[in-house]
C-alpha cells in the first residue's frame, strides 16, 4: 500500500471527485498487482546473500590451509560447486517460477565454479594466467544463464568477460587482442533478446543495456594495435550503433535513465567529436600518408561501420529516416570528414565544429518539442562544451569569448524559463 495514489483515495472520495466504489476498485487493482509481482526486496537480498557467501568461500579457500591434506582440500574445493548444482537442480525442478530462488542459486553456482577451479590450481600449483582462468570460468558458467534463466548470472557473465578482455588486452604484457571476447559476448545476447521480448519493463533489462554498452565501450580499445586515430573513429561507429539501438521502440519508450545505449552512445559520440574539434587529430591524420591503406585494412572499423549502416537502414525503414535522432548519422559524417581531411585538415576541423554546433541545436529543438528539460539542457551543455574547447585553440579576443559565454548563459536562462512557462500554460489550458 505504498502507492501515493492509495493514500490520496480518502481525500479524493471526500472531495467527491471519485465514488467510494471507484476507490475500492482502485485498492483491489493495486493489491492484486502487488501480489502478482515478485517481491523485489526478496530477490535483491537473495542474490546479495548468495553473492556474499560465494565470495566468502573464495576468500576462505584462498587462505590455503596447510594443515589440511590434499584430499580434504580438494573435497572442500569441490563441495560448494556440488551444493550449488544440487540447489540449482532443486530450484529447476521444484521452484522454477520463483525469481529469488532462481537468481540466488544461479549466482551461488556461478561463483562456486571459480572456487573449484581456483583450489585445484592451488593444490597442484598449476600456474595459469588470470585471463586464462577467467576465460575457462566464463565458458563453464555461461550455461547457468540459460538453464536457470538467470539475469543476474548474465550480468556477472558480462562483467567476467569484460574483465577477461581487459586482462588480456590492457593489463597483460605483451598485450593481445581479446578476439574471444566477441564470441563470449555473442553467447550472452540471446538472453538479452529474451529479456527484450518478454520482460522489457524489468530492471534487469535496463541493467543489461547499461552493462553491455559499458562493456563494449571498455574493451573496444583492444584494437589499439591499429593506428590510434582509426581506433577513435571505430568508437564513433560503435557509439552510433548504441544510439540506434537506444531508439528501438521498446527501449525508447521507457524512462531515459534505463536507456543505457542511448545515453552512453550520445555522450560518447559528443565527447569524441569534441576531441575531434581540435586541430591535432586531423593534422595527424592528413600528415601520415600511411593512414589511407591502413584505414582500408582496418576491418574492425569496417565491420562496425557495416553494422551501423545495417542498423540505420533497418531503423529508417521501421520508423522513418527523418524521425531518427540526428546523431545516428554521426558515423557517416565522420567518415566523410576523414576523406575531406586527406585534402584539407583545416576544413575537416571547421566542419566538425559546425556539426557539433548543429547537434547541440538539434538536441535543444528535440528537448523543446518533447517538452523535456533534461534534453534541452543537454543541448545547451553541448554548445557550452564546444565553446570551452574553442577557448583553448582559437585566436579570439577576450571580449568575443566573454560575449559568447554570456550568450550561452543567457540562452540557458531563457530556454529553461521558456520551457517552464510553456508547461504552465499547457497545464492551465488543460484545467
Amino acid at each position: 500500500m505504498s502507492k501515493p495514489i492509495l493514500k490520496d483515495l480518502h481525500e479524493l472520495v471526500e472531495a467527491t471527485l471519485i465514488t467510494e466504489e471507484t476507490a475500492q476498485k482502485i485498492r483491489v487493482y493495486y493489491n492484486q498487482k502487488e501480489a502478482q509481482a515478485p517481491n523485489r526486496l526478496v530477490i535483491v537480498f537473495g542474490i546479495l546473500g548468495a553473492l556474499l557467501v560465494g565470495l566468502g568461500i573464495i576468500l576462505i579457500i584462498a587462505h590455503n590451509w596447510d594443515t589440511l591434506g590434499k584430499v580434504p582440500k580438494l573435497a572442500i574445493a569441490l563441495l560448494p560447486m556440488l551444493v550449488g548444482q544440487a540447489v540449482c537442480g532443486f530450484v529447476f525442478l521444484k521452484k522454477r517460477d520463483h525469481t529469488a530462488w532462481r537468481e540466488s542459486s544461479a549466482a551461488f553456482l556461478f561463483l562456486s565454479i571459480a572456487a573449484s577451479i581456483s583450489i585445484v590450481s592451488q593444490v597442484y600449483n598449476i600456474e595459469g594466467t588470470l585471463h586464462g582462468f577467467l576465460f575457462l570460468w566464463m565458458l563453464l558458467a555461461f550455461p547457468v544463464i540459460y538453464v536457470m534463466q538467470s539475469s543476474f548470472a548474465s550480468l556477472l557473465y558480462i562483467l567476467g568477460i569484460t574483465w577477461y578482455a581487459c586482462e588480456l588486452s590492457y593489463f597483460n604484457y605483451p598485450n593481445e587482442t581479446a578476439w574471444w571476447y566477441w564470441g563470449l559476448l555473442l553467447l550472452a545476447l540471446p538472453h538479452y533478446y529474451l529479456l527484450y521480448t518478454k520482460r522489457s519493463n524489468s530492471n534487469f533489462f535496463a541493467f543489461h543495456s547499461w552493462f553491455i554498452a559499458a562493456s563494449v565501450t571498455t574493451v573496444l580499445g583492444m584494437f589499439g594495435n591499429w593506428l590510434e586515430e582509426i581506433t577513435v573513429i571505430t568508437y564513433i561507429n560503435v557509439f552510433c550503433v548504441f544510439i540506434l539501438i537506444g531508439q528501438v521502440e521498446k527501449i525508447y519508450q521507457r524512462r531515459l535513465i534505463t536507456n543505457g545505449f542511448l545515453i552512453a552512445g550520445s555522450l560518447g559520440l559528443i565527447s569524441i567529436l569534441l576531441f575531434l574539434s581540435f586541430e591535432e587529430f586531423w593534422v595527424e591524420l592528413s600528415e601520415g600518408r600511411e593512414y589511407r591503406p591502413e584505414l582500408m585494412d582496418a576491418y574492425p572499423y569496417w565491420i562496425t561501420f557495416g553494422l551501423a549502416i545495417a542498423l540505420l537502414i533497418w531503423s529508417g525503414i521501421k520508423k522513418s529516416f527523418l524521425s531518427l535522432n540526428v546523431k545516428s548519422y554521426g558515423f557517416i559524417i565522420v567518415l566523410l570528414l576523414v576523406f575531406i581531411s586527406f585534402q584539407s585538415p583545416q576544413l575537416a576541423r571547421i566542419l566538425t565544429n559546425i556539426i557539433l554546433f548543429a547537434f547541440g541545436i538539434f538536441t535543444i529543438r528535440d528537448g523543446a518539442q518533447q517538452n523535456r528539460l533534461s534534453l534541452l539542457n543537454y543541448g545547451l551543455l553541448i554548445l557550452t562544451a564546444l565553446i570551452i574547447c574553442r577557448f583553448f585553440d582559437v585566436d579570439m579576443s577576450f571580449v568575443v569569448r566573454g560575449l559568447l559565454f554570456v550568450a550561452v548563459g543567457v540562452g540557458f536562462f531563457a530556454a529553461n524559463a521558456w520551457m517552464v512557462r510553456k508547461r504552465k500554460t499547457e497545464l492551465n489550458s488543460n484545467v
Binding site: I61, A62, Q85, L130, L140
Partner: protein
C-alpha cells in the same frame, strides 16, 4: 522444452566437473609417474585474487644461449629438454619441436635478447607459482632470501616431469620443505 533444459543442466554439471577433474587427473599422473628434477630457485611473494598467496619462483636454469635470435623472435612455446647434473636440473637443449627419448617440458618463451652475441633465450616454466598458507608466503620469501646469502644453503623446487607436462611438488631449503621451515619460525616467534 523442460526436457531439453534438463539435459542442458546435466551437460553443464558434467562440464563443470570435467574441467577440475581433468586438472586433478593430469597432475596426479605427472606427480606419480613423472621423473623428479630439482630446479635451483629464488622465490618472491605476490598474491592472486582467487587463489590466494603464493611465492613466485625465479629459476636459475631459465635461459639458454642461441646462435640466431631471429629464429626465436616469433616463437611462443618451446620444448625444454632436461638433464641431471650434480643432482640438479640443467637445460640440455631447447627446441621448437617435441623431442623424443628424453625428458622435456613445454614452456613459454619469455623474451630473446638481441643486443650482443651470444643471444639469450629466456624461458617461463609452467610451474613458477608455489601456493602457501596466507600467513606463510611473506615469511617464506624472507627465509629463502636469507638462504641465498648463506652459501651453505640451497633453495630448490622439486618438479615431476612426464610427457612435456610438469607438476611442482614442493619447494625445499636444504632438503626441508619451505612450509615446514616457515612453520617452525612462526612457532618460535609466537612462543617468544
Amino acid at each position: 522444452m523442460k526436457k531439453i533444459l534438463l539435459l542442458l543442466f546435466a551437460l553443464m554439471c558434467l562440464a563443470q566437473w570435467y574441467v577440475p577433474g581433468m586438472m586433478i587427473y593430469d597432475q596426479e599422473q605427472v606427480l606419480n609417474e613423472g621423473k623428479v628434477y630439482k630446479f635451483k630457485t629464488r622465490p618472491i611473494d605476490p598474491s592472486d585474487p582467487f587463489r590466494g598467496k603464493y611465492i613466485t619462483l625465479n629459476f636459475e636454469e631459465d635461459h639458454i644461449n642461441v646462435t640466431d635470435f631471429k629464429e626465436w623472435e616469433n616463437v611462443s612455446d618451446v620444448y625444454v629438454s632436461l638433464r641431471d647434473s650434480a643432482g640438479y636440473a640443467r637445460i640440455n637443449s631447447v627446441s621448437m619441436y617435441e623431442p623424443e627419448g628424453i625428458d622435456y617440458i613445454k614452456a613459454r618463451v619469455q623474451s630473446v635478447d638481441s643486443y650482443d652475441a651470444p643471444y639469450t633465450l629466456w624461458i617461463a616454466y609452467p610451474f613458477e607459482r608455489f601456493y602457501l598458507e596466507e600467513s606463510k608466503a611473506a615469511e617464506a620469501e624472507r627465509v629463502s632470501w636469507q638462504a641465498r646469502t648463506d652459501s651453505t644453503q640451497v633453495t630448490y623446487a622439486v618438479v615431476s616431469v612426464r610427457d612435456g607436462k610438469a607438476g611442482l611438488k614442493d619447494v625445499m631449503i636444504n632438503d626441508r620443505s619451505i612450509a615446514d621451515v616457515v612453520s617452525e619460525i612462526n612457532q618460535a616467534q609466537s612462543s617468544d
